[in-house]
Amino acid sequence: MNALVSQPFVAVFRTEVLFNLKRVAPYALMILFSGNALLWWGWGPAITRGWAVNSDFYIIRLFCGFSFLTLPLFIAVLMGDPVIRDFRTGVDPLIFSKPVSRAEYLLGKFFGNFFVLICCQACFALTLLVLQGFAKPGMIVLSTRLWPYFQHFFFFIVVSSLLFGVVCFTVGTLTRNVKIVYALAVSFYVVYIAWQTSIKGLPVRWRIVLDPLLFNIAALSFEGRRAEWLNQVSISYDSDMIINRVVMLAVSLLCLTLLYFRFSTTERAKADDLASSQMSLLNLAPPFERLYHAPEFSHAPESSEPVAERTAETVALPQVAQVTKGLRAQLTQFAAALGVEFRLLLAERSLAAIAPLVMFLCAFELAVYEVAPEATYSAAYARRTVDALLLFLFGIAMFYTGESIHRDRETRIEPVLWSTPAPNFALLFSKFAATLLLSLSLITLVGLAAVAVQTYKGHAPFRLQDYLATYALILVPSVIFMVAAAIVLNVLLRDKYLTYAVSLALGGAFYYLAGQGYHHPLYNPILYQRWTPFDLVGGGSNLSLILIHRVYCLALSVLLLALALLFFERKSTGGLSDGSRLSSKGWTLLTATTSLLVAVLTGFIINSRA
């Protein structure tokens, strides 16, 4: 207990909070959670089922749903790597050489990050609290309430988060490998659903006690009740719920105690010894997190010759042909850059969590909810995945394009790359193509998952052409547009976090306006809410308009890419012509003009027919 009030604990705690204040993740989470609250408040089931949006029942229902959906992944983001970070940045010897005890260090780290996590999650509860003051038509709102939000937030969210926070923190700290934490977060859903299935046969009492999220509490306790009764019921915690929470707290404490005894501040000499004795080790840490030891560069004298004589041994370099002119050579350079960019994107840690999560959520929705045939079953399945995927693809376009564009500067490889004779388009569009390729891979995986679910549910016939038509006409051009827009924003704004903020604002505004009915095709390049499966595969009258719109969307994308190339920071040519021929700048301007003309022309057609 002394550790909690000691000066080192406060210092570590405060530093963690300050560090998080300078990260983008907490702010992104706050925006996301507030947006989530707004969405569930206005577009949740409350209005259609007659539930009051600030009744005890509905608050608990929302909090449990919030815990289930957001808890594992976001907790892993904040709680997985606080200690790993110290070892990675090399600040650990500076800290551990100070009079800081293990308990002070670990508790300061844990509670500093947990505090930030709770602040982020509180945005969800606070947004709901504020939204009591507003009501949509048909929405039931009870008189303004304050205490239930705090009470239920603590009981349902804070205690659950504490347990998962402790687990993520313990695993991350002991393994010093954040990938394991993310894998744990992703596998949470599978484990949790399997756990729920396995305890389904138990009495209700045990199902409550053994449910770490209390996710089913609303369904188990109030199933079949009328809306009027649910709106008036005041919920107090029974003994089963309290036992559940006490068990969660006890397990958290146990985990922290285990961590305290197992945590070591020293380098892992044992692992290094094993490595140097040529044993094979399964090590999931990326190589740059390990201590490198190359036998040929060891400090032991290798030979009696002086260094100068040894290294003067001349290795003749072979003569090689260099081709940098002509389309073929430039495409080769583009392919090389694309290969590396795609490999680097695949090495992004977050992808290991996001890709399975997207697949799981898309497949989960198809598996759990009834899918009614629209033109055909295949078209209906494809449409459902398109709706679910768009949001993720927006996120992927925004975040991974940003990572890709700014990676070269962050890793300080940019001056080396920019001094090579690679054309600007190869360096810039390889990033565009890599993000696009990543998105297409994800679309393919989700498509395969949808096919699997459709087959499993026996919704025959399976029509591949319906999937292909839906994805090729709706998703692919939309993704191209989103990635192109992300590229041009990153090039123009030149700041990753500013671009994220602007992209989020634009995406949010678009989504809001579309929800209000402003989704005219001219300013709706992703055709949101403007198509049905009947248009694509059922012989609907809108197909030609959709096709024209897709040309419009692609022309806009080309225009954006041309603008990105024109404003790309790396300068290569000055004028529009290179002797008697157009320079790359000239070609870019020509492309921009042509695509603008195509966009204007197709825009006129769309406007006249929409």
């Binding site: 990326p286 190589p287 740059f288 997190e289 390990r290 490198y292 190359a294 036998p295 040929e296 560069f297 260094v307 100068a308 290294t311 003067a312 001349t314 290795v315 003749a316 370099l317 072979p318 003569q319 090689v320 042909a321 260099q322 081709v323 940098t324 050579a329 080769t332 350079q333 392919a335 090389a336 850059a337 290969g339 590396v340 490999r343 680097l344 090495a347 890793t411 300080r412 490889i413 001056p415 080396v416 790359l417 920019w418 001094s419 090579t420 004779p421 690679a422 054309p423 190869a426 790396r570 300068k571 290569s572 040519t573 000055g574």
Partner: protein, 294 residues
């Protein structure tokens, strides 16, 4: 031959980094010496086509480096002062990538070239190792290996030995002297005087955006013969010595201060002994002289 004429650069903040530099450099290793903030890195960036000068001309073998950047980049090998590499790629993958960007399209030629380059920089055994696990010296050697791709006519190395241990520094010096081929200019920017004395056939000293000396290390040392004097003094005497003589450097040594003085008029006083001059004496005497003029 590298020709730099009237090169000037002023940053938007008002800092005048280069004030009309003129230099003609013949093939071989050329050392550009200067204190921090002298304008070395700005000059290097302009030569590497990464920064636009306000005025002036840069040409290598007659090719205009300012207006024909893509042609210039084919002739260029660049190792920046502060550079990184993709940590997840191996040394071989990294070199292969740069070779493709430099237009080495034939896969067999590329494989042979990357293999030879890795051997040359003594990273043959680490070829499959991810670059993220490399030590500073290994990273620096991989950096010079990528600069050597494509038989460059101008190789720019900006502060390459900063932060390296003596063994790595020695290794790096040998590499640099080895790569200075007949028709290649190796431009070494540094503030470490011994790097220049060990390696360079020609040298220049840059200070506050101006070239204040252009010479060869040998000629520079000749200039300093019989004009450098040294004495050991107590710490409290140093201020007096500085006010009386042209003190070019002071160094703590066994509880006293070793004071080196520049004097063309013979022995400054009976306490002083003549010493063999070093390139550091030349450098400090010039920089101090320029300071006193200012």
């Amino acid at each position: 031959m590298l020709e730099i004429t009237g090169l000037a650069k002023t940053y938007p903040s008002g800092v005048q980094a280069l004030k009309g530099i003129d230099l003609t450099i013949s093939p071989g290793v050329f050392g550009l010496l200067g204190p921090n903030g002298a304008g070395k890195t700005t000059l290097m960036k302009i030569l590497a086509t990464l920064l636009e000068p306000d005025s002036g001309r840069v040409a290598v073998g007659g090719v205009d480096f300012i207006n024909r950047k893509m042609v210039a980049r084919r002739m260029l090998g660049y190792l920046p002062q502060d550079f990184g590499l993709y940590p997840t790629l191996t040394a071989e993958q990294t070199l292969n990538y740069f070779a493709r960007l430099k237009g080495v399209t034939d896969a067999k030629e590329r494989a042979a070239l990357t293999g030879a380059l890795l051997e040359k920089v003594n990273l043959g055994q680490a070829r499959k190792q991810a670059v993220g696990g490399f030590s500073g010296g290994m990273r620096q050697r991989l950096g010079i290996a990528q600069a050597l791709i494509g038989q460059p006519k101008l190789i720019i190395v900006d502060e390459p030995t900063a932060g390296l241990d003596p063994e790595e520094r020695n290794r790096f010096h040998n590499l640099l002297s080895e790569i200075a081929a007949d028709d290649t200019v190796v431009l070494l920017s540094t503030h470490i005087v011994s790097d220049v004395s060990n390696l360079c056939g020609q040298m220049a000293i840059i200070r506050r955006g101006e070239i204040i000396a252009f010479s060869t290390p040998r000629a520079a040392l000749r200039q300093m013969t019989n004009v450098i004097w040294e004495t050991n003094a107590r710490r409290e005497e140093v201020a007096t010595l500085k006010s009386r003589f042209k003190v070019i450097s002071t160094q703590s040594f066994e509880g006293q201060v070793r004071v080196r003085v520049f004097s063309e008029q013979g022995r400054p006083s009976a306490d002083f002994q003549p010493v063999v001059p070093t390139l550091e004496d030349y450098y400090f005497s010039l920089v101090n002289r320029a300071e006193s003029v200012n």
